[in-house]
Amino acid sequence: MLGQKFKTVSITAATLASFIFTPVSVASDNASNASHHTSQASKYSVLTVGDSLVTGAAVSTAVVAVPMIITGTVMLSGGMASAGIASAALDSKSSKPLPISDDVIIAGPPPSAKLEGE
């Protein structure tokens, strides 16, 4: 009897503890900043090595993304103003798809990683 109660209490405690102290699926499926740094490196690695390689695609880490600004019928970013791609491809009256790079682009490490070791 006593043993059964002890077993029940132990299972209950373990169940609750595992829930409270173990990350639960979605809600706490976070990487810490440090481990996120590692994970981005790991992501880059698995995307580029061996069988995981995405055929024909380079893998790049993004430094900055500038949204295209719509001005009139043409969308331009500061960097695109002089690019030949701009007016023809981005005319909002066009039916052509917007250009999409074939490269696989991933985010770089978080800013905090830049201070690691200092």
Binding site: V26, A27, T61
Partner: protein, 266 residues
């Protein structure tokens, strides 16, 4: 109910709440990296074919069978067509995704993070994307809100998985996305005005999770906050935002994309 059964029930209950709308940034992946990258590119090319400069994007962080009724996607953000400079200085064109993510070390706090489609779908449990493309005039307003820094001003770092979209006590990814859309439409970052308009015109999704589960969720998990709700818990979701845009004639197109099924009209 015996203690053992009670504990097991409680565990299941809490897990079901946690599956609602997690805004996680995880390193784990459940599909082959090449599959993820190809799917991400498929989503980009579909959106680009529709000439979407800005669209609402949703992903599934949990198996659909575990999600509460009315919740189809677990994380929502804004995808913005961008010129992307890579680490070797080259210019590329594609979508950058503007997210509100839970902070790594404190799930009750959030941060704004820009990532890219392969990052966005890296940890999904299903390769499935929700896409809602606003009309071009709305896209222009959203771009202005992002470029002018208004979108950043709308961030409330106090995170709740079940944040009430009708007030600004806590915020999750879907509420933040809705805030940006409304700030763009009304050209204001005045949160009181935005919330008044949200109450008047936005139909949040009632959450089909029992009071019992929500009570224990709020007791055990800092990121499940119940006190910003009075009465039934209602949350912003991908579908409720899509419906909001459609109701007020602000939506150009919406779809669900899977690898096998290139598109399935909603």
């Amino acid at each position: 109910m015996g203690i053992k059964r009670y504990a097991i029930y409680l565990t299941i209950a809490l897990q079901s709440i946690s599956a609602i709308a997690g805004s996680e940034r995880s390193s784990e992946h459940y599909f082959e990296p090449s599959e993820i990258a190809q799917f991400a590119k498929q989503v980009e090319k579909y959106s680009a074919a529709h000439r979407a400069h800005v669209f609402i994007i949703g992903r599934v962080g949990q198996p659909s069978s575990t999600l509460p009724e009315g919740v189809e996607f677990t994380h929502v953000a804004l995808a913005v067509y961008s010129q992307i400079t890579t680490n070797n200085g080259e210019k590329r064109y594609g979508y950058a995704i503007h997210n509100l993510y839970q902070q790594a070390n404190d799930p009750a706090k959030s941060e704004l993070v820009t990532d890219y489609p392969t990052d966005f779908f890296w940890s999904v449990k299903e390769l499935k994307a929700g896409i809602a493309i606003p009309k071009l005039s709305v896209q222009k307003r959203i771009l202005e809100a992002i470029s002018s820094g208004v979108a950043e001003q709308l961030h409330n770092p106090k995170y709740s998985l079940i944040a009430n979209p009708y007030n600004n006590q806590r915020q999750n990814c879907t509420e933040y996305t809705l805030n940006v859309i409304n700030a763009a439409l009304y050209k204001t970052s005045d949160m009181a005005q935005l919330k008044a308009n949200t109450k008047a015109y936005f139909n949040a999704q009632p959450l089909s999770v029992s009071r019992f589960k929500l009570f224990f969720g709020s007791v055990f998990k800092d990121e499940i906050y119940r006190k910003d709700h009075s009465g039934r818990v209602r949350i912003a979701t991908f579908t409720s935002i899509r419906d909001y845009l459609e109701q007020y004639d602000l939506l150009a197109h919406s779809t669900v994309i899977t690898p096998k099924q290139s598109s399935e009209e909603i």
